[in-house]
Amino acid sequence: MRMRSRLLPGLLVLGLAVASIVPSADAQKRGGTLTIVRPTDPVSLDPNLETTAPGAWVYFNMLEGLLTLDDKMQVKPLLATSYEVMSPTKVRFKLRPNVKFHDGTPFNAAAVKFTFDRALRGTPPARWASLAGSLDGAEVVDDLTVDVVTKEPYGPILRTLAMYCMGIVSPTAVQKQGADFSRAPVGTGPFKFVEWKTNTHVIIERNNDYWGDKALLDRVIFKVVPEEGARMIALQTGDADMVLFPSPAQLPALRKDSKFTVHETTGIRVVFAGFHAGMPPLDDVRVRQALLHAVDRKAILDNIMEGSAGPARGVLAPGVFGYKDMQLDKLYPFDRAKAKALLTQAGWTPGPDGIMVKGGQRLSLSWLAARGRYPKDGEITEAIQAMFKDVGVEAKVQVLEWAAVFQQVRANPFNHHMFTLGWVTSNADADYSLYALFHSKQVPPTGWNTSRYANPRVDTLVEQARRSLNQTEREKLYGEVQDILAKEMVWIPVYTTKEIIVTRSSVKGFHIHPVEYNLALWKTSVEK
């Protein structure tokens, strides 16, 4: 049976036609080198091994997927020109003709199949395999037609294929380079790889044989500068043209200074303080609600984030498909009296040192956090710790380096009451978060239900929404999930990231993307 697509109708306009109308190249000069400073070096430049930002920032400019997500968060064609849903588990893509990889290998259906096989059937599977839900692989129909197959009906398939890490790689290069491919990837993108000096820099240059509008810059140099202060100095002195993760405290001054441009947009990461809902006393929903009332989230946003983040209105960020405003400010306003009243209801009474007690037990929570993984994560942890104390709750914070925190958070059992974490809905589809974070079967190491949240109704809803290909229905199902979660909060959502990048004003044509990983540089130029 052939079904005409009802997913995002009218979306896949022929991409080339649209791109050529945009009058960006005329006004800007070709040439120049862009120097970027950012805190960390990539793990790898191969999406099979690296799905985090430091690598993605670089390879996003070299590798292209079938689809992409534009800066309005809409799915757009890239290496595919159109698609058609063949069955609930099969989507057929027509591929862009006359596209070549950087090494001259022609791009075709075989390359798509090769990329997916390598990622999904490899041992171990690619890092992104777990992000791709029930994606099962690709089947070659003819040279420029490919069927993408899922194991079961999978609603988020298009947004999954549009993820930053779904770039198609050159089969010839992978076979020839072997393990070295991860340090020098070959794709079809507007930039190609030049060199990578570990912990110093990565250099990429313009691909002059690109199928679309060619990049304006000659070269891009990604430098590693771990210290926030040092990055800002590099920008001030002109050693760098662009700084990633700029210092929030310096933004007000930079916004006023005509030598710099502050680029910002709402991001899709929610940073939160999570509860272990299976561990007493946090298994009592009243205690969790009391803790939400105890936190002055606005004060944190105003004084710690200082305009560099937006309020978290729920467990998802606005812009993600399926997002619903959970009305947290109405449900859980900052109110210490309310917090204390809820704790009293739950049987807690003030002890001799001001900390609540119940049956001889103090209301003391152990809390695992890192410092520096997410903007101001250590600071918000410390601020909430102090706010808890004001309502008689003691938090014993253990600050460990990120790798150690990650390891413990991914472990089962998890032995802390609380944890500070950030979560990006990488494919911009609610499934990615609501399924992996709140389905009762998704407890680590399987998924990311670090809160050990369990509600059969939520399980049913997220399963149903994952299988449905009807986007309107899916949106309704996710809405209900978020209504339930709002009543049983297992997080204190603190902020949604704002993506902020500062450039010198000589940098023209740069557009910041809501997804941190999608650092697109092909329309950017530097006037010097």
């Binding site: 210290e227 926030e228 202060g229 800002m232 210092s247 405290a249 310096q250 001054a253 002055d296 004060a299 944190i300 105003d302 004084n303 710690i304 410092r371 250590g378 600071e379 942890t381 410390e382 601020a383 710790q385 102090a386 706010m387 104390k389 914070v397 253990q398 600050v399 460990l400 380096e401």
Partner: protein
Amino acid sequence: MGGWARFRRNRLALLGLVLVVVLGLTAVLAPWIAPYDPARQSLVEKRARPGAKYVLGADEFGRDILSRVIYGTRVALLVGVLSALIALAGGLVLGMTAGFAGGWLDATLMRAVEILLAFPYLLLALAIVAALGPGALNTTIAVGIWGIPAVTRIVRGAVLALRETEYVGAARALGAPGRDLLRRHIAPNILPGLIVYATLFMANAILLEAALSFLGLGVQPPTASWGLMVSTGRDVLLVAPHVATVPGLAIMVAVLAFNLVGDGLRDALDPRMRGST
């Protein structure tokens, strides 16, 4: 001329002593002299400049920096004193054993000590904290263990020299058992040198504690530690320099104080080494 008389005439050493006494009193009296609860936050007053309300300004959480520096003295001195005791106790036992027993035991112990000495000091401390986990107590232990090898060598050297002196030989000839020789005749003569070393060690211990806390491996928030304060203050160095500078000065003063006292003590107790560094 007695040791105290010599010490008293050394003005820098006296200055150091005064500073050490002030630091000690600050630590003991912290709850009475600190104007605010060091953990009390007032987010709207973040990074407040020094002024009438906050004499030395407020940090990134609007906490009073003066109060935090005062409470930080407790951490610094506690870690300093306790780790010096650990280093001295460990070093004395190992050094006397090696020096007095000699032979294979001496050789084994000293090779082990040399291996530890070969590590850069921060690396050794980091390794110990990594094994034990972060926290004030573990930091103290790490700093103490770091001090053991040097004390061991000093003690062993002194024991070797004293063992050959005539009065020890005389005591031995009179049939004094080894334990008595060590306790009555050798140990008292090692002590002055050790006191000098311990004082200088305190300065380094305070610095190492600050370094570990700076790296996030020392005391945990919201406890005030100078190193931690510098660490969090460095992010706002350009907009609010006082947040990192004030605790930085505190570290400098404490380290200087112990160094001055240590130098003074050395000159006073060990005239042969006077003027040397």
